[in-house]
């Protein structure tokens, strides 16, 4: 058994020496290496993308669908998701991931198709595509990362930025009279007859990670049933642009984001769930 560290990766080898943390004896469990490439991610420390990628990969590995799944990456921080997930993936134009996923699923209906999108991508520039994809009931999974900010472009206001929340384009806090209200798009798509399973989860605590993973797994299983769109919002953080430590950002998420975006199923196949 080797450590999951590239020998030529100086940063890590030095860290192993200094910190003594990445050694074989300490290995508790491993990343799903069949589906995840052995590379370091570009995501900031503490960002929810890394965890979400991992559980997504775990599900794909557990369901043994690596050869039957096609993912669509958005424009945003997760634009390079295909550098981490060893599956066939298509990069989409900003906001159009669900349209691209539609195109793939329509010609390959027997495959599992998902899009992975951020809040700016899915709920601002891509609102039309999101609503119509869900309304048509495209038989795909949409994973929606909501951290209330534009991460990649450097912390501008997102459609989901909370009232009063500061960003580089709402430097005095989001004034809803001027800038409009945050859009709870998950509540919107839950109303559409085309959606089959709509849930809001998070990855800021181990228990929530497990719940989110279960939701992703269920969604891929539902795709076999051809009953409509599965939509998972993951309320996430952005330590860098929120200008907080990872720990503080998760605390802030719990105290501020979750009251506004409460967790749980908005639409479940067997009535409203947990």
């Amino acid at each position: 058994m080797t450590t999951q560290v590239k020998k030529d990766d100086k940063h890590y080898t030095e860290m192993i020496k200094k910190e003594g943390i990445c050694i074989n004896e300490n290995l508790v469990y491993e990343p799903p290496r069949k589906v995840m490439y052995d590379v370091s991610m570009h995501y900031c420390p503490g960002c929810g993308h890394g965890v979400t990628h991992r559980i997504l990969a775990e599900v794909i590995e557990e369901l043994e669908i690596q050869g039957d799944v096609i993912g669509v990456a958005p424009v945003g921080c997760s634009v390079l998701a295909y550098n981490y997930l060893n599956i066939d993936m298509s990069e989409a134009a900003h906001g159009r991931a669900s349209a691209v996923a539609t195109g793939i699923k329509r010609v390959l209906p027997e495959k599992y198709v998902f899009s992975y999108q951020g809040d700016g991508d899915l709920a601002a520039i891509g609102t039309g595509e999101t609503i119509h994809t869900c309304n048509r009931g495209e038989n795909i999974l949409i994973i929606f990362i909501n951290n209330g900010i534009y991460g990649m472009t450097g912390g501008q206001m997102a459609p989901t930025t909370l009232p009063g929340m500061k960003s580089t384009t709402s430097p005095f806090g989001r004034d809803v009279k001027v800038m409009g209200n945050p859009l709870k798009i998950t509540d919107v798509v839950a109303q559409l007859p085309g959606t089959y399973y709509v849930t809001r989860q998070s990855v800021h605590k181990p228990g929530n990670v497990r719940k989110t993973k279960a939701a992703i797994k269920k969604s891929f299983e539902y795709q076999k049933l051809d009953n409509g769109t599965c939509f998972i919002e993951i309320v996430s953080n952005c330590p860098s642009n929120w200008k907080m430590t990872p720990v503080d950002s998760n605390k802030w998420l719990e105290e501020n984001m979750l009251p506004f975006y409460p967790l749980g199923d908005l639409k479940a196949p067997n009535g409203k769930g947990e």
């Binding site: 066939d88 993936m89 990069e91 159009r96 195109g103 793939i104 010609v107 495959k111």
Partner: protein, 356 residues
Amino acid sequence: MKELKLMKGNEALAEAAIRVGCDAYFGYPITPQSEILEYLSREATNRTGMVVLQAESEIASINMVYGAAGTGKKAMTSSSSPGISLMQEGISYIACAELPCLLVNVNRGGPGLGTIQPGQGDYFQAVKGGGHGDYHLIVLAPNTVQEMADFVKLSFDLAFKYRNPVMILADGALGQMMEKVELFPQEERTFSDLGWTTIGRRKGKDGKVITSLYLQSEQMEQINIGLQKKYDTIRKNEVRYEAINCDDAEYVITAFGLISRICQKTADLAREKGIKVGILRPITLFPFPYEVLRKLADKVKGFLDVEMNAGQMVEDVMLGVEGKVPVEFYGRMGGIIPTPEEILEVLEKKLVGGTK
């Protein structure tokens, strides 16, 4: 036995898409090409299982094409000028990701919402790029309903040969008018693993990626160099044109699409008057037949370029002629189709009179 039908240009194109075994059409209604979506909605799925989906916008349509084309399936969309403008971002992505697909523009008069009458004002957009970045579509310009059908097949052949989007640039009149068309027989819808496509990870191989994102400048430059090499090959191999009576011509009219047929009548009228006029019709607008023009310019007295716009292809004609002889232009806009007599008058006044 020949299968002859009287069909609208739009319908002939749609019928050809079914017969060529096209896998998916994504589109949004816009005049004067809605018959394509209507015809396919009515005919295609029942006959071949082809996917036909009316999208919520042209933006969604082109991105659905992007997704479907990335699997190696034969995918297409069609629209008219304002709708094609909306698609430009997606077309640029498709060109960079090198996805084979067919785009149809049944050109109407612009700019803006313009008119639903025919126009050729989208030449620059189709031929010179349209979207952002350095890329080219292969652009085919039919001038008969027959070619509306035939070029569908040719387009998919070229698209897959070069992994490049192909555009059929027609106009509203060609889309709406009815003519006799000989249809080719139904072809099987086939699907094969092209290797680079996103169809689910192949065993023992890393996942395939369809993307147009290269954050390292050196890598992005290499992608561009690769594209430019491909365009050079296309320029070398795929120039198509029709030259009518150019051998003994003193003057040559250049025109593409439907207007080239009106110019043929002009040429006939001119020859009745003793003026030897030939027609050069570029069939591929990219690649453009510069070389043919270069050679013609050595032996004719002048060119008249006729278009249903303010003068777009004329710039390419001038590039081909290299200033050796005069290149005059005559165009009508706003959806007006000039008459043969009108064009003859211009020819006589601007060229024959001027060079005497």
